[in-house]
Amino acid sequence: MRYSALKILREGLTGNKGWKPVWRDPDPKPEYDIVIIGGGGHGLATAYYLTKEFGLRNIAVLEKGWIGSGNVGRNTTIIRSNYMLPGNEPFYEMSLKLWEGLEQDFNYNAMVSQRSILNLFHSDAQRDAFVRRANAMFLAGADAELADADQLRAELPFLDFDNARFPIKGGLFQRRGGTVRHDAVAWGYARGADARGVDIIQNCEVTGFDIREGKCRGVETTRGAIRARKVAVCVAGSSGRVMALAGMRLPIESHVLQAFVTEGLKPVLPGVITFGAGHFYVSQSDKGGLVFGGDIDGYNSYAQRGNLPVVEDVAEGGMAIMPMIGRARLLRSWGGIMDMSMDGSPFIDRTPVDGLYFNGGWCYGGFKATPASGLCYAHLLAKDAPHPVATEMRLDRFARGHLIDEKGVGNQPNLH
């Protein structure tokens, strides 16, 4: 079913009775060419691109709960490609380009809104690092724009320029950055994949891998055994848990990241703004809520909830740069589990087990990566070779000494 204004008009006039399920609810078949574990944004995108770009059909996506119940449904909806290192920036820039055409591509309005992202800086050293990053973005074909404090004052007069503990010295804009209606991304990919024959199987938890003679031949699930020629793990947040079933230890820790939304407000924020001297980033949703977050809670956790110190730390950051939000009320907070990797960068790679593939370690960069992650993982699965923009996202990079450490904090996941 193709969605359009006309379709809405026709349905509206006939009592909205003709809408069909956005994806089917099939029972698992005994065997697939490719089984993707994880019905989140990345898993569904992988299925979508496998069918659309690589012409594969016999694919299942297995989801433990309901699709989109992981981090694609729990993030702060930001998209951007303002990375610095060669291992990352071309990948994220490709992702941003995919976002730009996504809705027309899968005929679903995910409200991709390129309202800009602004990273504030508060010191000369920070400015120098931002310039280096901005120039790396240019070299990778992305956009960036440096603004000084006066420009920012004109554009964003509500920021605290006069009484700040860490005065705003300027900021780095990426005007093409912005936000996306996160749930709709999962639904749009699911709809597109389903339409091309992918079986999306909800309430189907993987309980084990069928690995014999060094080759993965399928999975055990709560809905029975499913054979597969290739098994693609795509469960960021739970990577440790799932890969443990395959007997693998990862360069990953699971951490909880909280996110917050206020009550609905009339428009106040034009785009995404991040604080450079504390932990706070914010945007405003189309519904009017200020959606914001900060740092991870900082300890290993698989509980999708956080604790008070971080809530307060994030609010402090918010008040430090925009004290006009003091009377806006925090409405809801939630937690998502992050695959915090050892250098803050992800993995899209084969594993030592033949037929078993791994996608994870997204830290809190996963949402913006969704399209590129799906496309690159699909590329790897279809061709058994990494996509050109994802060649460095390998599991063995630590052994080789090739780090992709944007923040420069080393092998301590909770600092990334």
Binding site: G240, A244, R249, I252, E253, Y299, A303, A399
Partner: protein
């Protein structure tokens, strides 16, 4: 969270800084044959369990002791708190 410090009693976890898996105490022998591999595993690979986890916390805003906290990563329940120095010695670390 509250960490029941073995010497000081219950303290808000906000006084502490988290490091990670208590296996970080078990620093490999730099002269071993497989030192490169051992240090790679030590530095980069983690059990990351969903359940009981022994982990290192530092009482930065307190007595500056490193602690080994046994905590469930799903429920956050803490079942033991020990001085890391004692744990390290018990695991054979010395000079």
């Amino acid at each position: 969270m509250i960490i029941n410090h073995p010497l000081l009693g219950p303290r808000d976890a906000a006084e502490f800084v988290y490091l990670g898996d208590a296996a970080l105490i078990d620093r490999p022998d730099w002269q071993a044959e497989d030192a490169a591999e051992a240090f790679h595993a030590y530095g980069y690979l983690r059990d990351n369990p969903a359940g009981v986890h022994r982990e290192l916390w530092y009482h930065e805003q307190g007595d500056r002791s490193w602690l080994v906290v046994t905590r469930d990563t799903v429920s956050h329940e803490i079942t033991a708190v020990e001085l890391a120095r004692d744990v390290a010695r018990a695991r054979g670390r010395g000079r």
